[in-house]
């Protein structure tokens, strides 16, 4: 692995903007000189970010938040509209080929493999594309296959692999250039819980080898468990940045209480009473039933008074769940929306 100087950040993004044109303009509209009704959508909106060498950095956000677009700019697949992005100290616009030589990226799913080739043949092909010296190919591939526990099945066609094995092979492919920086876009999507768990363990091991890992995810538990630092991103902007513990402290609550109550036809009185007792981060009301997510310092103190409040307005609490603060609550507190919406 080619080392990165600890002074040079693995990734440095300054005022990054990526705009896409949305909508269509047909040939007929062009010929008729009809007004152009396409919209400009800012997928990445003035993003500033610095990922230090050696850390596992997570970009967390809902679908469409701009995570993948950011990663694709860093991987030199997309040109930024404005701003600057540097990977391993190299500018993505000026030195894309040098970046590709030193970057391991997992951006596409299991279909990006050649299913009619064996696992080993897939890696041999990509080793050539990464310009790996011929004399190193065999040994390097054998070592990576061993590390990914694929040696036994290396000469089977990929079409006979399980989803977890394909994901491991994709990770193996990204490791071919022995990259100091690994970019993983939603690495555990589509994996069963056990395979996802094993992949997370591998990511931690790769980090311990001295690699920087930059990953996107919309699984808050994954980000919480894996990442040294997290940027929460929404509408192309960073809304929070810090260690998981720092981010959770921004919620100003020690515990989260989720309530379900039958409120009948009462007109918001229960919600008003709850709001006077603690922070109601979110509530939904459907057909006389209300669900609420409440941030409080102590569930032990809050829950009894919540029952009293319900009784006072003729509502009935049917279910109470007390959970620790998660990154989901951080996102909720910052945006008023859930990550999975």
């Amino acid at each position: 692995m080619s080392a990165i100087s600890s002074d040079v950040p693995a990734v440095e993004i300054t005022d990054l903007v990526k705009t896409f044109t949305q909508g269509r303009r047909t040939l007929v509209q062009r010929v008729r000189h009809a007004p152009d009704q396409r919209r400009q959508h800012r997928a990445v909106d003035d993003l500033n970010l610095r990922v230090e060498a050696g850390e596992i950095f997570g970009v967390l956000g809902p679908n469409g938040a701009g995570k993948t677009t950011t990663l694709r700019i860093l991987a030199t697949l997309l040109e930024p509209t404005s701003g600057q992005a540097r990977v391993l100290g190299l500018d993505v616009n000026e030195r894309p080929r040098e970046i590709r030589r030193r970057l391991g990226a997992v951006l596409a799913g299991e279909r990006s493999l050649y299913w009619k080739l064996t696992g080993r043949e897939n890696l041999e092909y990509y080793a050539a594309l990464y310009h790996m010296p011929a004399r190193q190919v065999k040994g390097r591939i054998a070592a990576i296959l061993e590390d990914m526990e694929l040696t036994d099945r290396a000469d089977d066609y990929v079409e006979r692999y399980s989803t977890g094995m394909r994901q491991r092979l994709i990770l193996a492919r990204a490791l071919l250039p022995d990259p100091p920086l690994l970019m993983l876009d939603e690495p555990t999507v589509g994996l069963d819980p056990q395979a996802a768990h094993h992949l997370r363990e591998r990511i931690v091991r790769l980090s311990k080898q001295g690699r920087t890992v930059l990953l996107t995810t919309h699984y808050m538990e994954e980000a919480d468990q894996l990442c040294d630092r997290i940027a929460i991103i929404d509408h192309g902007r960073i809304v929070a940045l810090g260690t998981p513990a720092e981010l959770k402290r921004t919620v100003r609550a020690a515990q989260v209480v989720r309530l379900e109550a039958a409120v009948g036809s009462e007109n918001g009185a229960f919600l008003d009473r709850l709001s006077s007792l603690a922070t109601v981060a979110r509530h939904d009301r459907v057909d006389g039933h209300m669900t609420a997510t409440v941030h409080c310092q102590s569930a032990r103190e809050f829950v009894p008074v919540a029952f009293d409040a319900a009784m006072a307005v003729g509502a009935t609490i049917q279910h109470v769940e007390v959970i620790p603060v998660t990154l989901e609550d951080v996102f909720l507190a910052l945006t008023g929306r859930a990550l999975r919406e």
Binding site: A75, L77, R100, L103, L107, A108, S112, Y114, K116, L117
Partner: protein, 277 residues
């Protein structure tokens, strides 16, 4: 860097070849079509003018040969090669795009030309297999004398034509990257080439404006030169001027393909179209 890219080119060709040979029915199809497709035109020609000396002499006056079957099978062979060239690299690139592996390859430092031309040698194997079938058919069924010397000269012409066809295929493949559709465009182009390049008839029967376009198309020269070699025993020096034109057109096609591909890649990096299908 060049050596590394050449190794990558070999790896790309090997990858394509391995995938191709793991679908063996492709080769059965190639055994069948070279026999049937020109055969239909031979039967048609027999139906219209067999045994009629006047018709045969008119044909010979326009083509320089009395070998109707040979004329049609050579045209058919080049037409099928053209089809392989148009379907092959374009479809391969398109498949890479829909699979997501194209983007993955763009993440590597390899020259983009490797991705553009890498699948071509495997398709060339397909084409040579087809030429072999047609050569056997001409020699055994139609008694066209193809000796070792003729075969070598024909192979030399084919070898000189390879860059032109490579360029044509790559140019088309580059456009596929932009327009994301293969079938309709292949059908259109095949139709145009079939009419303008004299696949089943001598181009002298075309209007003058169409003949003017025909001479700018590499397949026209390839068909004419191979017919001269196989049916009239022409020597290579006698074909030199035409082969020179063909070489020029080849270079032009390859450069155009590289430029179009470069442009498409740049546009894709701007609008994110590389991963879209």
């Amino acid at each position: 860097m060049l050596a590394a890219d050449l190794r990558a080119f070999y790896a790309a060709a090997l990858k394509e070849w391995r995938i191709m040979r793991r679908y063996p029915t492709v080769f059965i199809g190639i055994l069948f079509w070279p026999l049937i497709l020109p055969g239909v035109y031979v039967l048609q020609a027999n139906g219209f003018g067999a045994g009629d000396g006047q018709a045969l002499h008119a044909f010979a006056a326009r083509t320089g040969t009395l070998q109707v079957a040979g004329f049609l099978y050579v045209g058919g062979a080049i037409y099928m090669w053209l089809s392989v060239v148009l379907w092959g690299p374009g479809s391969a690139l398109r498949e890479e795009q829909t699979r997501g592996s194209l983007e993955q390859q763009f993440l590597t430092p390899v020259s983009r030309l490797v991705l553009l031309f890498g699948s071509a040698p495997a398709h060339l194997v397909q084409a040579f297999w087809m030429f072999l079938v047609i050569g056997i058919v001409l020699g055994t069924l139609f008694h066209v004398p193809i000796g070792a010397g003729t075969a070598v000269r024909a192979l030399v012409v084919i070898a000189i034509s390879v860059p032109a066809f490579l360029g044509l295929g790559a140019l088309f493949a580059a456009l596929v990257l932009r327009f994301k559709e293969v079938n309709g465009t292949v059908q259109l182009l095949r139709g145009v080439f079939q009419v303008l390049c004299g696949v089943t008839f001598p181009i002298v029967v075309l209007p003058l404006w169409a003949q003017a376009i025909a001479v700018t198309l590499p397949p026209t020269h390839v068909i004419a030169d191979i017919r001269s070699v196989v049916l009239s025993g022409a020597s290579l020096p006698s074909l030199a001027p035409d082969l020179l034109v063909l070489t020029g057109l080849s270079a032009l096609m390859c450069v155009m393909a590289a430029l179009v591909f470069q442009r498409c890649e740049r546009d894709s990096r701007r609008n994110g179209a590389l991963g879209q299908y």
